[in-house]
Structure formats: structure tokens, C-alpha cells
Subunit: 254 residues, 2 copies
């Protein structure tokens, strides 16, 4: 292999694993795999002996937008050549084989890949041909297997989907996206004083229409109302909306 795709030049997230498609058949699937990879920022693909040769116009058409992955794809005749400069190789395959080998979930595998790559090692993930999957001749060249824990009653991931899930796992584990944020549309969270003033107005308006009745339940009704409002993460826009509602309903009553 040439030294150009050694997985050290990407912007989004640093060094990456190389994805190796072994004897892929349909150009569309090569393009689909490229799209799946690039969705999660992976751009180093190698092809071993693609059935319809290379370049493949159908792959290019399908990859549109992820062309950069195909532009620098490496093509070899044998799996051994594709893996020659790697330090560690995963093979994605169904679980039961007649070879003794470590089997990892995608989660554990990409955790291990990140650890290895963090030490400066070069890591490959192999994917087999669409119909048959990887042959034992290829599997023996891998250090470990990746097995996606699919429904035992229905295991039907296609090539691009298997690439997608592996790429997703790689990205997920290095992702800095906060797990949960509130997207604020042109407003900010209300301050407590704003919620307090809203409650005062609400209680006053409700008091005027004898909402807090019977008398001996008034205290707990007010508590419930205050608790409800404080449970909501109100924005300043929400507070204004409630003020408007109270005003409008008060007018209608007259």
C-alpha cells in the first residue's frame, strides 16, 4: 500500500481506522459504504479485488457527496496486501466459525481500536463480500472478530449497514456532543424571579374568580400550582406566553 492513507490526516477526530472491503460485488454497495463512513467522518477505505474492477462509475454515482472517500481509495489484489502495514485487524463476521478467535461487540471493538490508535497503532476493519461474507482465508488474517448482536431470529444487516454501525460506534465513543441540551429558539431560560411574578399574577387572577375553593383546600391547590410551574423548565418566552394567556382569559370573562 502507498503511504497516503495512513489514517493520520483527518480533521474530525484525528487518526482513524481503515475500512477494508474484501471482494465487494456491487458498485452501489461500495458507494453506500463510502457514504456510511463519511457520515461519521471516516475516510480511509481499501478495496480488495472488487468484482467489477476499479474505478467503478456506479460506486462514484452512489457515493455522491462522499466522493473524497473513493478519491483516495486503495485497491489491492489480495487481503494480505491490503493489511500489510496494519498493526491490528478486526473482521466483521457472523459469530460461529471453526476458528479460535476473540469475538467483540462493535462497542468493545471500537473501544479497543481507539486504545490502539491512541498508542499510534494502525487499525483495520474488514468487511466481506455481500453474499458470502468473509472467507476463512481472510478471517485468519484478523486479530479479532466483530459480531453485531442482532436479533437471533433475524440477522440481515447488509454491507453498508454493517459499515454504518461500525462507523457510528467509532464516532460515538469519541464524540464530544453533549448527551442532552435544550435547544433555545431565540429565548433564554426564565429566572426564578420571573416565574415567581408569573405565579403571583396567576394566583391573583385565579383568586379573583374563586378558583381556590373550598377554602380548606386552597393552600394545597396553591402548592400544587407552584410545584407544577417550577417543574417545567420555563423560558422567558414561555413566561410571556402565560402572561398573555392570563390577560386574555381575564378579558374574556368581563
Amino acid at each position: 500500500m502507498s503511504g497516503t492513507d495512513h489514517a493520520k490526516d483527518t480533521g474530525w477526530g484525528g487518526p482513524q481506522p481503515v475500512f477494508v472491503l474484501v471482494e465487494p460485488q456491487m458498485g452501489e454497495n461500495i458507494g453506500g459504504a463510502a457514504r456510511a463512513m463519511w457520515n461519521f467522518g471516516l475516510e480511509h477505505m481499501r478495496l480488495v479485488n472488487p468484482r467489477d474492477g476499479w474505478p467503478n462509475p456506479k460506486a462514484t454515482a452512489m457515493a455522491s457527496g462522499a466522493a473524497r472517500v473513493l478519491d483516495k481509495v486503495g485497491v489491492t489484489q489480495t487481503t494480505a496486501d491490503a493489511l500489510s502495514d496494519m498493526n491490528f485487524t478486526f473482521a466483521t463476521t457472523a459469530r460461529s466459525r471453526d476458528l479460535t478467535k476473540p469475538v467483540m461487540t462493535p462497542e468493545r471493538a471500537m473501544e479497543h481500536a481507539r486504545a490502539l490508535i491512541g498508542q499510534g497503532q494502525k487499525v483495520a476493519v474488514m468487511f466481506g463480500p455481500e453474499r458470502s461474507g468473509l472467507a476463512n482465508d481472510d478471517i485468519v488474517q484478523a486479530n479479532a472478530l466483530i459480531s453485531v448482536p442482532v436479533n437471533p431470529a433475524f440477522a440481515s444487516l447488509n454491507l453498508a449497514q454493517c459499515v454504518l454501525l461500525t462507523a457510528y460506534e467509532w464516532r460515538r465513543q469519541g464524540d464530544a456532543t453533549p448527551p442532552e441540551v435544550v435547544e433555545l429558539a431565540g429565548t433564554d431560560f426564565a429566572e426564578t424571579i420571573e416565574v415567581q411574578k408569573l405565579l403571583e399574577r396567576m394566583e391573583s387572577a385565579l383568586h379573583d374568580v374563586n378558583f381556590f375553593w373550598p377554602e380548606h383546600k386552597a393552600e394545597s391547590m396553591i402548592l400544587t400550582l407552584r410545584n407544577m410551574m417550577s417543574r417545567m423548565p420555563l423560558t422567558q418566552a414561555d413566561v410571556r406566553t402565560f402572561h398573555g394567556i392570563i390577560k386574555a382569559l381575564g378579558k374574556n370573562k368581563d
Copy 2:
């Protein structure tokens, strides 16, 4: 909605979220979404106003093997009807919208979904039409958004892929698969005594051919050899293979 798909009757993993496809266009994509779901054991799908009506032969053809998902799909005219019996709804959508709403990663969202479902609540995940995605009219009916952290330079997940990743996350978090095992092909791990005996034989054979030379380096060479062999997780079959190699090489020498 009828009471038949209340997500409490599945075998693989107990109660589940309901996936709601809003105004899906292509039957093939409905079938592809069903396959993606069933790969991870999800079987409760609802359709809101599918463009080409229902049933749809193209959906059925594409879903082959995941027919059970389509067999009991629920179809409604409006999003409100599809969600009416739910307690919490996620909407999958690109991030930037003009609505204030919590935004979660798929990981966090499915963690939250598991917590809610664990409390007996009913949870839906909405997916928009292929081209346009969910409209604001639908998004306002969701309690929170799910945003997949894709490559900002290339966000191009299709409907079935978005369904696949969400279903994968649901499954991953409830999955009991051990992260890493060694698949043993008709053998067992060697016991230390077997490795020790192999080393003795190896050292003896190497000693006979003056491998440990020069003399003052012999001790560290033996240490290195022993360390190498103990670093490998050798099986009983591996030990036999090494014995055979040593025997064969010894013979050749004569």
C-alpha cells in the same frame, strides 16, 4: 389506536418503544425500516398517512423476513392519532429548528426511553418523510428531539439508516452479550503446566542447536522466549501445533 401494539408482548427484551413513520413516501423505505427494526428485535411500527396507501406491496416485498413488523403495523391519518396513547415521544430531526426543545444524542435518548419504559410508560420515536423530514407541526408534538451526531460536512442518513441506528442504540443498552469472548473452535485454553512443558521442550530443542548464544545472553534470551509464549493466550490445540512444529523442524535438521 387499537390496543394491540402496546409494546408489551415481545420476547427479546420486554417492552419496547413504538417507531412512528410520518408520511413515508416509498414502500421500499417502509419495508427497509421494518427490516432495520427487526434486526434489533423491535416490532412495533405505526404509519401516519403513508403516501401510497396501505397495505403496500413494495413494502411487503422489501420487508421479507421482517413481515411480522408490517403484519401488525398501525395506520392513522394524523400524527396526533398515532401518538394519542403514548406518554413520551421523541422526534428524530436535524438539530437546528425554531422551536425550544430538549435535544438528545441517540445514546442519551434510548437511555431515557429505557428509564421511562421501565416505569411502565409508553414511548414513541417519530421519523419524518424521506425528503423533507418532520414538519414543525409534528415536532411540536414531541417531548424531545433525537439528533444523530453526524459529520457536519456530510449529514446524509436515509430513513432506514436513521431507524437502524436508533434501534441499534435501544438494543445495545439492553444487550447482555459479553463485550469480549474468545470463540473456541473445538479446543480449550491450555493449562499453565502444558505451556511450561512446551517451553521446556522448545528450550531443549533450541539448546541442542546452540540457539542460546552467546553464553552471556542466554539467560535473557530464555526470559524473552518464555515471556512471549506466556503473552499468547494459547489453546491446547495451539500447544499441540507447536509441539508438532518443533518435532518436524528437529527431523528436518538431521
